[in-house]
């Protein structure tokens, strides 16, 4: 039971990070039809920015982390929107989707060529100590990650629900045409979504890197987790992405530990979220919390 609780906390911690990546992915999809296949690389890259700041320029960790978030907002938010998405959306959704795949390759190989192909250790914000909570030993680092990720999610939810800008953003996500008629500055909201996505990805990157190490090829796993989380939760709902992220994180961790019990070899741990994806697509295609969408005419 104690083991189980430890695994659950660890799962929620990684799951909350996946949720951060999945929320941004969902928001982009809704506001601008940008299905960002480079989302995993968006989470992989900011940690490299921090590494560059620390190791090439000798800056302290906290400053490097802020710089990483800043660089992410500029490059993965503004530049991505202006240089990639804007020119390509005019050609249609498919060229844009293919371009995001190319962007993913570009970032992945760019990180490899510019920094290194090795996996790098990354400092954790929280001390790696175990604390005793009601007889269960829980990693402080994991609790910290969980707390930060949940705080980010809560702040985002508050922003979307309680501020005027947030509500305009939601209106844009639900129906850009109607939002425009209601006087929402749709272009600005879309831009803001890209910035928000980049910031969320950067936070996810800083949180996940002490756990997974920093490696150029991490985007594949992270991206897949984000896609699965978004689809499982219901891609048209922010809370769907949150639930999906947490679920994928927990299932991933439990599958790693209990794979023997359910008769799968631990080498198939990666396949468990995929199985979840397939089950959802088969039996609840709109996602666990999603609404059904009408086919548009």
């Amino acid at each position: 039971m104690a083991d189980f609780l430890q695994l659950l906390i660890a799962g929620l911690a990684t799951g909350a990070i996946y949720a951060l990546a999945a929320i941004g992915f969902t928001l982009l999809w809704q506001t601008s039809q940008t299905i960002n296949f480079a989302q995993g690389e968006f989470v992989m890259l900011p940690a490299f920015f921090a590494l560059v700041a620390m190791h090439w320029f000798g800056l302290p960790f906290w400053l490097s982390a802020l710089i990483a978030i800043g660089c992410a907002v500029i490059l993965l938010g503004l530049v991505f929107k202006l240089v990639i998405v804007d020119p390509l959306i005019r050609q249609g959704v498919l060229p844009l989707v293919i371009s995001t795949i190319a962007v993913g390759l570009l970032l992945k190989d760019g990180a490899k060529e510019a920094y290194s192909a090795e996996a790098h250790r990354f400092p954790s914000i929280f001390p790696d100590r175990l604390v005793d909570v009601l007889g269960v030993k829980i990693s402080l680092a994991q609790l910290g990650v969980l707390a930060v990720a949940l705080a980010a999610i809560a702040a985002l939810q508050w922003f979307l629900a309680a501020t005027s800008t947030g509500r305009q953003m939601q209106a844009t996500a639900q129906n850009p045409g109607v939002a425009r008629i209601l006087g929402v500055r749709v272009e600005r909201m879309v831009m803001l979504t890209f910035v928000l996505n980049a910031a969320l990805a950067a936070v996810a990157s800083l949180l996940i890197s002490p756990i997974y190490l920093v490696k150029f090829s991490n985007g594949e796993t992270l991206g897949l987790a984000a896609f699965v989380a978004a689809i499982v939760g219901g891609f048209n709902q922010v809370r769907g992405a949150i639930a999906g992220g947490l679920l994928v994180g927990v299932i991933d961790n439990l599958a790693g530990a209990y794979s023997g019990l359910i008769g799968v070899s631990s080498s198939y741990r990666q396949a468990v979220p995929l199985a979840l994806l397939v089950l959802v697509i088969l039996f609840r295609p709109q996602g666990l919390l999603g609404r059904r969408e009408e086919r548009s005419v």
Binding site: I35, F37, I84, P87, L88, Q91, G92, V93, L94, P95, L96, V97, I98, S99, I101, A102, V103, G104, L105, L106, D109, G110, E113, E220, L224, F227, V228, I231, S265, S267, Y268, Q270, A271, L274, L277, V278, I281, L282, P285, Q286, E293, R295, S296, V297
Partner: protein, 329 residues
């Protein structure tokens, strides 16, 4: 007249290809054969992406399924012809099985499902050592023999692959000019309208995906005896993404696109040896530029330049500029 010329051009191209190995060394013939095999798989991707307007991120996985199927059957003593059709048939059936649930939901779900499938196939190939040899791979895959003569010599094997690739290319040409091909074009340009005209969009899309995947399987059945040793690496997600990008660079929706794209993907890295490590970067950047300025790919670009030369600039028709753009409902 025009189609007569086109046939003549095709005949000349095939003849030139058939004669090419006579002047080339062993390694160059190998690369040329690899180009043909890649082009066959890319033909399948083109059917899915360029004709049916879907995205597949699993062509390398189907290549792997075909390669392991044919290699394992060859080791079990099954004749190549049978193994070849088994590779295509299994890929077709798997294509139906994974395409069916994905296409029920909505556009772009096929991309996610094929993405997941790619990872899954790679895991199976790597983990099921008793069957696939795991990371050690399968060694000493025999090349087939024809009329009692072994096709082990590289030139003979090239001609063998050329003949099969030509047959598969012809079959694809025949398919896209059939009523099915017309339905594929219609459902890419405007699925809602196509559905209202009685076109069962879901079924046609599924068939396009399954047939395209079968081409991946066929290519795999040729790939295994070509390289004579297979391991999981070429069948991972990365190579699947490259298949999609190469078709787009070549010109998706144009019949010659996959051949051009495969040439860029297979032949260019050989010539660009100096740029080896930056190759992927250049390639990815090229794809983005291509999508932004010429979504019809290199074939479309060539067509545009050609018509610019022959006619005043304003007449240069942007044929198929919508090849990838979707009809806005």
């Amino acid at each position: 007249m025009r189609s007569g010329l086109a046939w003549a051009a095709v005949a000349v191209a095939v003849l030139a290809l058939a004669l090419a190995p006579l002047g080339l060394g062993r390694y160059d013939v190998y690369i040329l054969t690899l180009w043909l095999v890649t082009a066959v798989a890319a033909l399948g991707v083109n059917l899915i992406v360029g004709y049916a307007g879907q995205e597949t991120l699993a062509q390398a996985a189907f290549l792997g399924i075909g390669a392991y199927t044919s290699a394992l059957l060859a080791k079990a003593g099954v004749p190549f012809g049978l193994a070849f059709f088994a590779a295509g048939g299994i890929s077709f059936a798997i294509g139906l099985a994974i395409g069916f649930p994905a296409l029920r939901v909505q556009k772009h779900y096929l991309a996610f499902v094929t993405l997941a499938f790619s990872v899954f196939v790679w895991l199976v190939i790597r983990n099921e050592e008793w069957l696939t040899g795991g990371v050690m791979g399968l060694k000493d895959i025999e090349r087939p023999s024809l009329f009692g003569a072994s096709l082990r010599p590289h030139r003979l094997f090239f001609w063998f692959v050329l003949a099969i690739a030509a047959a598969l290319t012809f079959a694809m040409w025949w398919l896209v000019r059939s009523p099915w091909g017309r339905a594929f074009t219609a459902l890419r340009e405007n699925p809602v309208r196509a559905e209202s005209l009685g076109v069962n969009v879901r079924r046609y899309t599924l068939l396009a995906f399954a047939i395209g995947s079968a081409y991946g399987g066929f290519a795999g059945a040729l790939y295994a005896p070509l390289v004579e040793f297979i391991d999981p690496a070429p069948f991972a997600l990365g190579p699947s993404l490259l298949f999609l990008l190469m078709v787009v660079v070549g010109g998706s929706g144009s019949f010659a696109g996959p051949f051009v794209g495969a040439a860029v993907a297979v032949l260019l890295p050989e010539w660009l040896r100096f740029a080896e490590s930056y190759y992927l970067l250049i390639y990815a950047a090229l794809v983005i530029l291509m999508m932004a300025f010429c979504p019809t790919g290199l074939v479309g670009l060539a067509g545009r330049l050609w018509s610019l030369r022959r006619r005043p600039a304003r007449m240069a028709e942007d044929e198929g500029a919508r090849a990838l753009g979707e009809a806005k409902p």
